[in-house]
């Protein structure tokens, strides 16, 4: 088999369609008789609904209905199911599709208006008379965990819904014997996802068949179907869910949302197709985000600065509900010990309810948080012991010869975590070399002549990718000789239509132009999990490989019969099966497909089943661990505090690259997310839980002008844990980026500046630190 496409930087097959306006996003779906929905949302962070009177709104032009939860009682009721149940959560902590009685964050949906147009529906919102009694507000996690704090849910005994713990080794003994112990506290903030396309749902009841069709801008369409079917008391087979073209997800679109259920319920209640397109204001209020974590940590090291152990606790702001179970804080915990070979660690995370929009994973989930604190601890050791930062890392990293390395951590099923492959020190050396750390002091001196402070930063990470259990794929050759790949794995722009086609094209020896990928439609493929956790290349990619190889074997078997040749004498090339060395003796795949498609009265060859097609499910029982290092230079204007990243270098190992162009895009975009978290993005709320930065004028999403060029170097250590040797690449850019930028700022401010333990860092904050340093 030739490998013409795997590993090649082929241009994305979906781009001509998407870039010329021929995509089909949820808002492009227009159905006869379709009504437009808007949501009446809570304007208070915590309150009790006393009354709701829609009568004035109902008499306004174009208004067809105003629904509260009670109006859906014949279709469904009660709180939403949890996406990821956890043994520590005795009962789901979720909201109803529309709030009943109590609202717990600004933006929680209370009622919905259906109208002939979105504008008319919005006009009617102000006419709904809503009386809400204000209740005490928990506006941040530290307040929520304090004695005597108000309750984020008035019926709950405590705002702490769970305490997660991860430990390994005898931490007390390791700390007692260590040469040095250092303590730090950290305040970490990450913002939202801000996908270019906001969320959107269209639900259409089929009056004759009773089926319900749902189009949703989701990373998890099959999860939406499963939970909606349960909620409605229907069979999954009666619900069709499609994720059409989706304009970015970055984590929050993996959640199953109250609006998805409410739109479906409204469509069933009114008998019309119903469309809801989230606007950007709603996105700021009601799409899940990440937010604050407060860490108190202690690190132990030996006399040479080798990191030995970490212990401490974290307070995690989970927001008003736990729709995604405890996955977000759990990913922070599961990210320890990072690239470090620790003799022991002992960490706990208190998961706290607040009256703010729920948190769920955003690109990297809790991993950037864990990477930030671990990398800052490594920098603490370097600072206190006056060692080069790289040296602390080289002495502390898991070494290549230790692979596979059992970390002491546990998988979700309790089995031990073992890193599969790689050379962590090599990645660090690569970025140190490529950014020319040796020449840095010269550059720093030059910048000083311009009145600027230059700083150099490093950070590293290990990332668990390819989360199980599976994504499946089917591969089918049509009688025209075209190859159709179908999978449940939804794309939000990652280029699945190209990468999965590359794998299939190689296995079947066809031109890439002959392969079409269809995805995320429950009528096209029966099962799917979720496009999360950098898992699709590993899971769906491997499944395509498995399915395509089955099809290849089948084609060769049939060709052997047609050509009267031995199977091992045949090869597959240029859309044909041919005899090795005798290219004229061949049979096109289209002919084989036609034979296996059957003709009336004509038997198909013995020993093969009809249809030149196969399905593959790669079961990812073990994680594939990607890793990497990053280095950057920042230039600070000490008068304004302005911080520009002037250089950025990434070394990344995601195993075998399917398409370097796409991987580079993933890494580059990931780094941008991290830079946003380090310097710009801050979702602020006041003490009443009111969002203060709910527009792009106030929420500083960085733009292209704020971004440096990002230089990317790949190390390719194939993962032994899947048939294509891939590791995920979607989050590795983000995970160490904040730590890298902050390390560079620290370096620029010099040894007299306070040790930086928080992010994002504002220019005002930097000016304050410079002032403190000068005093």
């Amino acid at each position: 088999m030739s490998t013409r496409y795997f590993g090649a930087a082929v241009p994305r097959l979906e781009d001509p369609r998407l870039l010329t306006g021929r995509g089909t996003y949820v808002d492009d779906i227009v159905l006869p008789g379709m009504l437009h929905a808007v949501f009446l949302r809570s304007s208070v962070a915590h309150g009790r609904i006393r009354s709701l009177d829609p009568s004035a709104a109902l008499s306004m032009p174009g208004i067809r209905a105003v629904y509260a939860m009670a109006d859906f009682v014949s279709f469904g009721s009660g709180p939403m199911p949890t996406m990821a149940p956890h043994p520590l959560l005795k009962s789901p902590i979720t909201c109803s599709p529309l709030a009943v009685d109590e609202v717990r964050y600004v933006g929680e949906a209370i009622a919905m208006v259906l109208a002939d147009s979105r504008a008319e529906a919005e006009d009617a919102l102000a006419a709904i008379e809503l009386d809400i009694e204000h209740l005490p507000v928990v506006a941040n996690a530290r307040q929520g965990i304090a004695d005597g704090a108000p309750r984020a849910h008035s019926g709950r005994d405590s705002n702490v819904i769970a305490t997660l713990r991860g430990s390994h080794g005898n931490v007390d003994a390791v700390f007692a014997a260590a040469a040095h112990r250092f303590s730090e506290t950290f305040e970490i903030h990450r913002g939202g996802c801000h996908a270019m396309e906001c969320r959107g749902v269209v639900a259409a009841p089929e009056p004759r068949s009773g089926e319900l069709s749902l189009w949703t801008s989701s990373q998890s369409p099959y999860m939406v179907r499963r939970h909606l079917a349960t909620y409605l008391g229907r069979d999954e087979a009666d619900i069709r869910v499609t994720a059409p073209d989706v304009g970015g997800g970055f984590g929050p679109k993996a959640n199953v949302y109250p609006e998805e259920f409410a739109v479906a319920l409204a469509a069933l209640a009114c008998g019309h197709p119903v469309k809801w397109i989230e606007d950007r204001q709603e996105h700021f209020l009601a799409t899940t985000q990440q937010r604050d974590q407060f860490w108190s940590l202690e690190v132990a090291c030996d006399a040479a600065g080798r990191m030995l152990g970490v212990r401490g606790r974290c307070i995690h702001d989970n927001g008003a509900y736990a729709p995604y179970g405890l996955i977000l804080p759990a990913t922070a915990l599961a990210s320890f010990p990072g690239p470090y070979a620790l003799a022991a660690f002992d960490l706990s995370i208190d998961v706290v309810l607040t009256n703010l929009v729920p948190t769920t994973p955003v690109r990297g989930a809790g991993r950037p948080n864990a990477a930030f604190v671990l990398e800052r601890l490594a920098d603490t050791i370097a600072r206190r012991l006056n060692l080069p930062r790289e040296e602390v890392r080289r002495r502390s990293f898991v070494r290549a010869e230790q692979m596979p390395y059992v970390t002491g951590g546990k998988m979700r099923d309790g089995s031990p975590v073992a890193y599969d492959s790689g050379d962590y020190a090599k990645a660090l050396s690569l970025v140190v070399d490529k950014i020319d750390a040796a020449g840095f002091e010269e550059r720093r001196a030059e910048a000083a002549t311009r009145g600027r402070l230059l700083g150099l930063g490093f950070a590293s990470c290990v990332e668990d990718t390819g989360l199980g259990p599976f994504e499946g794929a089917s591969v089918r050759v049509t009688p025209a000789g075209k190859v159709v790949v179908a999978t449940g794995a939804a794309s939000q722009g990652q280029g699945h239509a190209t990468t999965l086609a590359q794998i299939a094209a190689d296995a079947l020896g066809v031109d890439l132009s002959q392969v079409t990928v269809k995805a995320a439609d429950s009528r096209i493929f029966p099962l799917g999990i979720s496009t999360i956790a950098s898992r699709v290349a590993v899971t769906a990619g491997s499944s395509v490989e498995i399915a395509a190889r089955k099809v290849r074997d089948k084609a060769i078997k049939v060709a052997a019969h047609i050509l009267e040749a031995g199977e091992h004498d045949l090869e597959i090339e240029n859309g044909q099966v041919r005899v090795v060395g005798v290219p004229d003796m061949n049979v096109p795949l289209s002919t084989i497909a036609r034979v296996l498609s059957g003709s009336a009265g004509v038997p198909i060859p013995a020993g093969v089943e009809p249809d030149l097609a196969a399905t593959g499910y790669f079961e990812a029982n073990q994680l594939a661990f990607a890793y990497g290092s990053q280095a950057c230079e920042v230039e600070i204007d000490p008068e304004t505090g302005d911080t520009r990243i002037t250089r950025y270098v990434v070394a990344h190992d995601c195993g075998r690259l399917i398409n370097p162009l796409i991987v580079d895009g993933q890494i580059r975009g990931g780094v941008v997310h991290g830079i946003g978290n380090a310097l710009f993005e801050h979702m602020r709320h006041d003490e009443a839980g009111q969002p203060l930065t709910a527009t792009y004028a106030d929420y500083l999403l960085p733009g292209a002008a704020e971004m440096p060029d990002i230089e990317i170097h790949h190390i390719e250590t194939p993962s032994p844990r899947n048939p294509i040797g891939a590791k995920g690449a979607g989050e590795g850019g983000t995970i160490p980026a904040v730590a890298c930028v902050i390390s560079a700022i620290q370096d620029a401010l010099g040894p007299a500046a306070p040790f930086i333990t928080m992010h994002p860092v504002s220019p005002e904050q930097i000016v304050e630190w410079i002032d403190q340093t000068r005093k």
């Binding site: 979105r118 504008a119 919005e122 006009d123 606007d279 950007r280 204001q281 008068e639 304004t640 302005d642 710009f680 602020r684 203060l692 930065t693 004028a697 106030d698 500083l700 960085p702 733009g703 002008a705 704020e706 504002s762 220019p763 005002e764 000016v767």
Partner: protein
């Protein structure tokens, strides 16, 4: 985020516009729409009538005379930036416009719209303050000229009356060879400045300052001329002492605080940008032809 209902009007002449202004209640004028349209979509404003003045001829244009530059109210920010005449006679305008939004918004946004909306951090009203502008307004009760000192009434509030519209803005020309400097600090490219400053300097043959104008914006609700510093500068040669005095005065302004920055940091920045703008203005190579 859809606008509330309104009736749309698009007059084709100044007379038609004045007729609508006389007749309609609760009307808003639509110029480039870069502030008004988002405000409509956020339902911050809910006019009963929207009068689109984009189709009235002669409201846009750049005219130079011996003493003045007259800018039609509907002149697009992009046209101001692109004008070679303007760049030659008042080069600070082109420099400042690079900071006004993004090229997409500049291709629609107008100088009149910016001067009537009056965001505290807007560059164009600040330039008007710097150039001692006169605002030519008209309405059913006739036309009048408003001097720049009377134009800024408060936060987002100009002297334009409810039934008036802005026709043009007249800037005083500075002589050939004047120095200019512009500096602002914003978090992202195209953001409203946290603080900004513009400076113009005219030098006599003996290198003493003959005339000075300094404006600080984004700090108080409207642009502020540092008149005292300007007076101190006249007759002096440029010096560190002069710069320090200017920065000190800018740092003493009554700065606003917001969700992003404290008043103290904004005052500090006001000093920094004022010093930078003046330093630029004093550089011989930076003097206009």
């Amino acid at each position: 985020m859809k606008a509330p209902p309104f009736t749309y009007h698009d007059p084709r002449s100044r007379d038609d516009l004045i007729g609508l202004l006389a007749e309609l209640e609760n009307a808003k004028l639509l110029a480039g729409g870069q502030s008004l349209v988002p405000m409509l979509n956020f339902r911050v404003v809910a006019p009963d009538h929207l009068i689109d003045i984009n189709r009235i001829p002669d409201l846009a244009g750049i005219r130079l005379s011996a003493n003045a530059v007259v800018l039609g109210a509907m002149t697009r920010q992009w046209d101001l930036q692109a004008s070679a005449d303007l760049a030659a006679t008042a080069p600070i305008i082109r420099e400042a416009l690079a900071h006004v939004g993004h090229f997409q918004t500049r291709s629609r946004g107008t100088i009149g719209g910016s001067c009537c909306h009056l965001d505290p951090a807007a560059e164009l009203p600040a330039l008007c303050a710097l150039f001692d502008a006169e605002f030519d307004v008209a309405g059913p009760n006739g036309a009048r000229i408003v001097k720049v000192g009377d134009w800024f009434k408060g936060y987002l509030e100009s002297a334009l009356e409810e039934r008036e519209y802005l026709q043009s803005i007249r800037l005083r020309r500075w002589p050939a060879g004047h120095g200019y400097g512009f500096s602002e600090y914003a978090r992202r490219r195209g953001d409203f400045a946290i603080a900004g400053a513009g400076a113009l300097l005219e030098f006599a043959e003996d290198a003493r300052i003959r005339r000075a104008a300094i404006v600080v914006f984004g700090v108080e609700p409207g642009p502020v001329r540092l008149v005292e510093v300007e007076q101190i500068l006249v007759g002096q040669t440029f010096s560190e002492a002069v710069l320090a005095e200017a920065a000190a005065q800018a740092s003493a302004l009554d700065a606003m605080a917001d969700v992003h920055v404290s008043a103290a940091y904004r005052r500090h920045l006001a000093g920094v940008v004022t010093r930078r703008a003046l330093t630029e203005a004093a550089r011989p190579a930076r003097q206009a032809v």
